[in-house]
């Protein structure tokens, strides 16, 4: 039998284009990083480092009143000046960053994981569960996150677990919406149909067929949620409802030193700057993500 075998050259020719297309986002990413992306990475890395080891380098204790006068300007002894009680602002920021970043990480992680899990569950579970879950979470979406947080703090008092839970619950519906819309699109792909025809269960389809293809956009989304949570918690702390004294996060540092604002005191400027650099840094990192992931996330959020 003279069955002609596939001509290898014809078969292989277009393969090259595909390689650059997807071959590992992590491998390719740093090389393609723009200047702004690089700035973002540096800022995020700096703040993560501060959150983990910052307090080790704090020259003074977090609550120690060390300066003679309040709102002292920057000096060799107090690099960022002193606050309204005469405490060292640098030390307060080094301790406070841990709260802000730790809380926001925990809440954003909780919101994104739960949102992704529920989104996948809704997608593979058929119409009724999908509909009821989606409508329920839509209802949560329409409660303003600040107001919801105020009610929660008013009702249960401010504590770290409550803050995490409240922030996570506020941002869960958004993460769910994005996860579900990604998963629904993937769910009609032919490889999912093949898996279904093969007799795979829902859990397999959700975890092995859908999840790996939506993980990158969900990571980008996680970054955005993190920024939102930082701003929410800082806002709450600014209102005096967040982290309670003597502990302080960046938001409460801004608030307690607000009376130094007319003098342009570093005690109020520096924590504000810290919040700004942290959130801008995360945003720059997200913007430098490869196009597809970013577009999906940004588009779905609006």
């Amino acid at each position: 039998m003279t069955t002609p075998v596939a001509s290898p050259s014809a078969d292989r020719a277009p393969a090259q284009e595909g390689i650059a297309h997807r071959a590992g986002f992590w491998r390719r990413w740093p090389r393609r990083l723009s200047l702004s992306g690089l700035v973002g990475v540096v800022l995020v890395a700096f703040w993560l480092l501060v959150a983990f080891v910052g307090p080790l380098f704090a020259p003074h204790g977090v609550g120690a009143i060390v300066a003679d006068d309040s709102f002292a300007p920057m000096s060799g002894q107090f690099p960022l000046g002193s606050d309204y009680l005469g405490r060292d602002v640098l030390s307060r920021i080094l301790y406070g960053a841990r709260y802000t970043i730790g809380l926001a990480l925990a809440a954003a992680l909780l919101a994104s994981t739960a949102g992704t899990a529920l989104g996948l569950f809704a997608t593979v579970s058929g119409r009724w569960i999908d509909e009821s879950l989606s409508r329920l979470l839509d209802a949560v979406t329409c409660i303003p996150s600040k107001v919801f947080a105020l009610v929660m703090v008013a009702g249960f008092g401010s504590s770290v677990p409550l803050l995490i839970f409240t922030a996570a619950l506020s941002y869960l519906p958004g993460a769910y919406r994005i996860a579900r819309s990604l998963a629904v699109n993937l769910n009609v792909m032919e490889y999912v149909e093949v898996a279904r025809a093969r007799g795979e269960g829902r859990v397999y389809i959700a975890c092995y067929e859908l999840l790996p293809n939506m993980i990158h956009p969900m990571l980008a989304d996680f970054g955005l949620r993190f920024v939102f949570v930082v701003l929410l918690l800082s806002g709450l702390s600014f209102l005096g409802l967040g982290v309670q004294p003597p502990a302080a996060d960046l938001g409460s540092l801004v608030r307690e030193n607000i009376s130094g604002l007319p003098d342009g005191s570093p005690a109020v400027m520096m924590p504000a700057l810290a919040i700004a650099t942290l959130t801008i840094g995360v945003n720059l990192v997200i913007d430098s993500l490869p196009g597809r992931a970013r577009r999906l996330t940004r588009g779905a959020l609006r």
Binding site: I19, E193, R198
Partner: protein
């Protein structure tokens, strides 16, 4: 010389992310005399569309025209900038894209869009442009030329839209028209109408044109000269007759060979052992569709209506029909992805549950489905080993080295090197992906593989190789196929039995040999006659009878009339529009659903 288009030393490069240049078109030179049609032919990635776009001075995102010159008439296209290019495009050079549906704005009326070019370039008043458009509609054999312009793109058919796009291109009387695969997305029966219309207009207006296509048989009908491209270079360029009758370049010869498919022989011993065990698959009175269930369980949109078929062990059943005829739905129903509304499926002598969840794992293993587009049928997040390994562990409980050994065997079966095991399928070429796709189905060791347009997305040469592989697998593994295709040539080359679907009804079933012999269903005749042949002049010679338009729609409510009624040239008024057609068995064993023999 009165060459209208002169291209010399054209180089188009693409810059990739790391800044390295990749040459897409390498030193291409050709010229087109006034009033001739040049066809650019080649497989995907050969640079044919890139060359066509360069004629308008356009390079796609990331690409640029590096060197060379393009002259259209007295204009040096490559030296134009900004506004000058705008004046060239749509005025001197017009472009007709592959997908008319994507090229029309759904929110504006057709007339507005057709005359837009003339209005932008301020060459005609609105009234004059509309009059000219109507004249073009008539020349392109569009129905109701006076009023079709008032409709919106979704209100006309795909073939009509393609012709409307031609009118849009021709409204400014351009010197050069570029047709980029204008009939590729159409059904064969529509393609022939569109081709005829194009050819007529091009001949009458003595338009110079570039026709980009991968289909030699289509090109043979319309081109005066053919340029064969491979990897951005011209392999051979010459008069159409010479290329078609006496190709010199080996690559052109390969293309010609692939365009004329050989019959991939069935096993000689096909009927040896099957009679004893009975048919593999029997479907009886199958009705399926989408949407809400109405009374008696009939779905809102019925896609398949009363389809019955029998498939013998080791046999190949071809299912053919145009888009929307229910071919893919049939495969999905057999695979269990869509539950039928009515009818029974027997597999291996046992009834097959309509719902996937009620089928046993063994039944699932024995029926595998292979989809058209390997890009979407293989999970881009998985490696080849993972894709092939999953059915092995699911159905056969294999793991570790035993599984890897089997994966290597499977890759060898589909003639892929075992080294690609660890690669992501996104790194593979179209043909390789389709092989992995087949290998995944084989991993289950099925009795039946449902192939849904498996070769349609592939280039001719690659598709031929896949068909060869399928024929070989069938000989060696005794697996049966339900082979779904819109391409009657591939169906003929692989299948023992052919089933013709039209609008969800089985209008004919016959063996391969008798498909175009003796009396057939009028739709089958139309389908067979519409496939372009690889010779010049076929388009003029082929005789496609046209149906007389049907007056009145009073029978619209009568159930189960012949679905082909409106298009049927052999319609018997007073019979066909009154009674449902009977199943008739002809002398040579065909089953057709038609009134024909009542005469």
């Amino acid at each position: 010389m009165n060459d209208l288009v002169r291209v010399s030393g054209l180089r188009v490069v693409a810059r990739n992310e790391s800044g390295a240049d990749h040459v897409i078109v390498k030193d291409v030179s050709f010229s087109i005399p006034q009033g001739e049609v040049l066809a650019l032919i080649g497989e995907s990635g050969s640079g044919k569309t890139t060359i066509a776009l360069a004629l308008m001075g356009y390079a796609r995102g990331g690409c640029s025209i590096a060197s060379g010159s393009v002259d259209v008439g007295a204009t040096a296209v490559t030296s134009l900038r900004g506004q000058q290019l705008c004046e060239l495009r749509g005025r001197q050079v017009a472009y007709i894209a592959q997908s008319a549906a994507a090229a029309f704005n759904p929110a504006r009326s057709i007339m507005d869009q057709v005359i837009e070019g003339a209005r932008i370039h301020r060459i005609l008043t609105r009234a004059a442009a509309e009059a000219k458009a109507i004249e073009l509609f008539r020349a392109l054999a569009l129905p109701a030329p006076e009023s079709i312009g008032r409709r919106y793109p979704h209100e006309v058919s795909g073939g009509q839209l393609q012709r409307l796009m031609a009118a849009m291109a021709l409204i400014t009387d351009p010197e050069l028209v570029i047709l980029d695969e204008p009939t590729t997305a159409l059904d064969v029966t529509t393609q022939i109408e569109v081709l005829r219309a194009f050819k007529k207009v091009v001949r009458e207006r003595r338009t110079t044109a570039v026709y980009v296509s991968h289909d030699l048989a289509v090109v043979a009908q319309i081109a005066d000269r053919i340029a064969v491209l491979k990897n951005g270079e011209i392999c051979e360029c010459g008069p159409a007759e010479q290329i078609l009758d006496a190709p010199r370049d080996p690559y052109t010869q390969t293309l010609m060979a692939a365009a004329n498919p050989v019959v991939r022989l069935a096993r000689e011993s096909a009927s040896r052992d099957q009679k004893a065990t009975g048919p593999l698959l029997t479907i009886d009175g199958l009705t399926a569709g989408y949407g809400r269930r109405e009374n008696q369980g009939r779905p809102e949109n019925v896609v398949l209506e009363d389809v019955s078929l029998t498939l013998q062990r080791g046999a190949v059943l071809g299912v053919i029909g145009e888009s929307g005829s229910g071919k893919s739905t049939l495969a999905r129903v057999i695979a269990g992805l869509i539950a039928p509304a009515r009818g029974t499926i027997q597999f291996n002598g046992a009834p097959l549950a309509p719902q996937l969840a009620h089928r046993t794992r063994e039944q699932l293993r024995r029926i595998q489905i292979v989809f058209q587009n390997a890009d979407t049928a293989l999970n881009p997040a998985h490696s080849v080993a993972r894709i092939l390994g999953r059915p092995l562990s699911l159905y056969h409980g294999l793991s570790g080295p035993a599984r890897n050994k089997r994966i290597a065997e499977l890759l060898d079966r589909v003639r892929l090197p075992a080294t690609i095991m660890g690669r992501s399928c996104a790194d593979l070429s179209g043909g390789q992906k389709q092989r992995v796709n087949l290998a995944r189905a084989l991993a289950a060791e099925p009795d039946l593989i449902l192939c849904d347009e498996v070769t349609s997305a592939l280039d001719t040469v690659v598709a031929a190789a896949i068909l060869d592989l399928m024929a070989e697998l069938r000989r060696e593994l005794n697996v049966s196929y339900v082979f779904i295709s819109h391409d009657i040539k591939t169906v003929r080359s692989l299948c023992d039995e052919v089933l013709v679907l039209y609008a969800g009804c089985k209008v004919e079933s016959s063996s391969r040999e008798t498909l175009s012999v003796g009396s057939s269903h009028p739709y089958t005749d139309l389908l067979v006659a519409s496939v372009p042949e690889l010779r010049k002049g076929w388009l003029e010679q082929v005789d496609i009878p046209e149906a007389q338009s049907l007056v009145g729609t009073h029978f619209a409510g009568t159930p189960r009339l012949c679905s082909f009624l409106r298009r049927c040239p052999l319609r018997i008024d007073g019979v066909c529009d009154v009674e449902p057609p009977p199943h008739v068995v002809t002398q040579n064993g065909k089953q057709i659903l038609c009134h024909q023999d009542l005469k």
